[in-house]
Symmetry: C2
Subunit: 196 residues, 2 copies
Amino acid sequence: MTTQTIPGYTYGHPDVARSPVSMEEFERLKQTVLFTEEDVHYLRMAGDVLADQIEDVLDLWYGFVGSHPHLLYYFQGPDGQPIPSYLERVRARFGQWILDTCRRPYDQDWLNYQMEIGLRHHRTKKNQTDGVPAPPHIPLRYLIAFIVPITLTIRDFLARKGHSPETVEKMHQAWFKAVTLQVVLWSYPYARDGDF
Amino acid sequence: MTTQTIPGYTYGHPDVARSPVSMEEFERLKQTVLFTEEDVHYLRMAGDVLADQIEDVLDLWYGFVGSHPHLLYYFQGPDGQPIPSYLERVRARFGQWILDTCRRPYDQDWLNYQMEIGLRHHRTKKNQTDGVPAPPHIPLRYLIAFIVPITLTIRDFLARKGHSPETVEKMHQAWFKAVTLQVVLWSYPYARDGDF
Ligand code: HEM
Ligand code: HEM
């Protein structure tokens, strides 16, 4: 699937609003998560390592969500059943997100799309992209908590292409920083005015 | 310093309010960060490894904060200078926190004190414990972002007591989960009503 054909994927589109986080503030956030040019390098490498494993990664993550009723809940319709089209459409965007995390420059377009993803987890925009009647909001507590599974479970995939343990560790740390940085940006709509 | 003599440390005191997070919800949060009894075991081990290195850990973390003006800012008085008594008092509580993270049972008292720590970073209670005129609020974005330095920098300390790489990795993962779990709980006062 090319990025053009992923339903609801609007990265770089003119209708994605500008992020409320300035580039200057974003630089301070990168410093706070120890994110440097070296991490950009290892994310590119991780992108090459993960590119042909995306479906396996998604199987694992969807398996994790699917095996926890309190998480699967957010994909369910009013009848208490998961909505297949919703799971599928989000899955395609999630796969693209793995590549975007590794390969995109973290520029203004990227920053803007982070705000968009935050809004899509938050009650402001959840369900709208896919036109589904699922629960209206993903709680902040799970958004932050997910840093752990999304970070820990990627490691085995990073180690599958014969890189040295040191290189795998560097890719893994870069991934951890990139995921945390994004959850930080996604938390914006959740915070009380002035608290972000 | 015993816990009795740490200024402002009120763990288990009757005046610490009850956490708004129920034990049932806390169980779901533990599942979401993959936290199990095995992690409790490795946290205990980490406590033994870290106990005589606390000052070194704090030196590193304070060095990190001190070398970033956008972080040191939150310890400063109206004259733009860091307040030594504030740094010192918080440092003692921070040291105790390392041990609490490793050794305390994660029970109702623990849960209550997590809310208290959240409030002390948030505008609700920042500065009150130490009676200082520092900035009134630590932003949510830095609170979440700190998961990375607090996690990555502990690893070398965990590796210094001759444990196998596998055991160090287990202690490190347990630490990562415990820190993320706490930041989740600390984010409560930052979230808009119903968004947590
Ligand atoms: C580290 C935390 C998380 C990451 C990295 C992540 C990743 C993503 C990505 C990349 C998308 C698609 C964004 C797009 O539209 O382009 C998405 C959407 C979604 N995620 Fe997450 N997610 C996280 C936390 C969670 C949690 C805790 C849940 C709860 C089960 C969840 C459920 C969903 C749902 C339901 C959607 C669709 C939202 C909509 O209606 O547009 N996510 N997520
Ligand atoms: C993972 C994130 C963080 C951890 C684990 C952490 C840990 C702690 C601990 C254990 C305390 C003492 C709690 C008590 O009173 O018993 C504390 C207080 C404090 N921390 Fe943090 N902290 C984090 C994020 C931050 C950030 C991003 C800043 C900004 C520089 C910061 C600045 C402070 C300040 C100023 C206090 C004193 C608050 C007061 O007035 O009571 N912390 N922190």
